[in-house]
């Protein structure tokens, strides 16, 4: 019995001791990418601009006691083009260079938050702004210009070398495609044979998940996401619930609730419960089910 206790005790002390070492919080960078597509040849998303701008404000307020760097790549159409607007234009080149810059610059105790509000294609690809100011996203044959598309693989491969924790917030159609089937866990959304699927995953040679990358998407890989069709100050349904989860009041334009603990998992559960849309198809096609990456790790944004 004594031997057993002597075995257990050092293990316990060693384990707790690991967490007693200090882990200083570093820089927090929020890169807000938002596109309204106003005046272009695809459907406009007026709420997307509010999403990007207010997420930037909310994160600035949320981490007010830390060093926060906010960058906005926002395209509100070409009606009021200016040099400043051009600098912030979320073209594919600009988005890639900004992400690559921060991935290289940030260290292991930093946090990179990338939010995207805009269109998503059926494979999850993001639709970015054109270099030209004619609002043309479509080619003559009616297909989308492939130079404006940032694919799931392109974005995820940009994030692979990141040493910092990375949170990807995607308010776009088919954003569940960014939850790649790696690691040990399976999604139980719409899965009826959970046990069999979990065993198959255990037996498979699936590569380990990227435990520094946390993805929170508005919807599943096979479904669209929505914003209200009318209203004076609108947000995507996903982003509105996300902002509320962070404690943001859209009317007062400030954080009105300071929560003691905010994790990515908690935000997911909050959005699912408060997104003001059904999460299943029982009521028709006007629904969306948020998604979150699997794996053993959880991102802790706030712990007071």
């Amino acid at each position: 019995m004594k031997t057993l206790l002597w075995l257990i005790l050092p293990l316990l002390l060693l384990s707790v001791g690991c967490e007693l070492t200090s882990a200083p919080h570093g820089r927090i960078v929020h890169l807000a990418i938002a596109l309204s597509y106003r005046g272009s040849d695809v459907q406009s998303l007026p709420a997307a601009i509010n999403d990007g701008e207010e997420l930037a404000l909310a994160f600035g307020d949320l981490f007010c006691d830390r060093l926060v760097i906010g960058q906005q790549l926002i395209w509100d159409g070409d009606g009021h083009a200016s040099e400043t607007a051009d600098l912030c234009r979320p073209t594919k080149e600009a988005v890639i260079s900004h992400i690559a810059l921060w991935v290289a610059a940030l260290d292991s105790n930093d946090l990179l938050i990338i939010s995207y509000s805009g269109h998503g294609l059926e494979d999850g690809s993001l639709v970015l702004a054109p270099e030209s100011h004619d609002g043309a996203l479509l080619l003559e044959d009616g297909t989308l210009n492939p130079l404006l598309i940032l694919t799931v693989e392109e974005l995820l491969s940009l994030l692979v070398p990141a040493r910092a924790a990375t949170l990807l917030l995607l308010d776009s159609c088919y954003s569940g495609n960014f939850i790649t089937p790696t690691g040990s866990s399976i999604s139980t959304i719409g899965t009826t044979e959970i046990f069999a699927a979990a065993w198959r995953r255990y037996a498979s040679g699936a590569t380990p998940s990227n435990c520094r990358l946390f993805v929170l998407g508005a919807t599943t890989a096979d479904h669209t996401s929505f914003e209200p069709l009318a209203g004076s100050h609108t947000h995507g349904y996903f982003t509105r619930a996300l902002l509320e989860g962070l404690g943001w009041d859209c009317t007062q334009q400030r954080l009105t609730v300071r929560r003691p603990l905010i994790t990515a998992d908690w935000l997911y559960a909050y959005i699912l419960a408060n997104q003001r849309l059904p999460s299943t198809s029982e009521g028709g096609t006007w629904y969306q089910h948020p998604t979150i990456g699997g794996g053993p790790m959880e991102l802790v944004l706030i712990k007071r």
Binding site: V16, E19, G294, P296
Partner: protein, 185 residues
């Protein structure tokens, strides 16, 4: 002191010493444990600490003179780990099936081993994973009569997850009921 004496008398009345029970039995085990995770992926720290509780029910158990075998099902609840930096490991709830074998070394001391498998559901998120577990431990008999047996258990469990190997060093109680056969001649 009075309370301890009262408890001792109560146990004495409920479980007067008699022959060590044998035969078919049902069992209920409760245990608490620290849950120490060793990641297979690159993490900031070598090990993270959580805690958990396990409730196992043995529906198919049989105790021979010194051997004891049972098939058990149960629930495990594991908390999220202590936060370190921006990270912690997720908490989860598990459904477990295990085969347990014990060998009585001395009158009050048994050693046991168990093999199990679990389906685990992360809390708050719609995600699940499968795992295996293996345990060894000691069982100290506290009280018994021909119908009941109460033991203190110290299982050391290795939880084999695809991305993590975890160590549970538990302390718990195990209660076995040996039903009386009725109606025979």
């Amino acid at each position: 002191m009075k309370r301890i004496a009262a408890l001792a008398i109560l146990v004495g009345i409920l479980m007067p010493l008699s022959a060590n029970p044998t035969g078919q039995y049902y069992a209920l085990s409760l245990s608490l444990f620290p849950y120490m995770t060793i990641p297979h992926y690159q993490d900031e720290i070598p090990m993270r600490t959580a805690a958990g509780t396990e409730v196992m029910v043995g529906a198919l158990g049989y105790r021979f003179a010194v051997h004891d075998v049972s098939l058990e099902v149960g629930y495990l609840g594991t908390t999220a780990s202590i936060t370190h930096g921006f990270y912690r490991t997720r908490g989860f709830d598990s459904v477990k099936v295990a085969l347990r074998w014990a060998y009585q070394m001395k009158e009050n001391l048994s050693l046991f081993t168990a093999l199990g498998t679990e389906i685990n559901f992360y809390r708050n998120v719609d995600s699940a994973f499968a795992s295996f577990s293996t345990a060894v431990g000691a069982e100290v008999q506290l009280a018994y009569n021909s119908s009941y047996r109460l033991s203190l258990i110290f299982p050391l469990t290795i939880h084999l997850r695809k991305e993590i190997t975890a160590i549970q060093s538990a302390v718990g109680l195990r209660y076995q009921i040996f039903p009386t056969l009725r109606g025979g001649r």
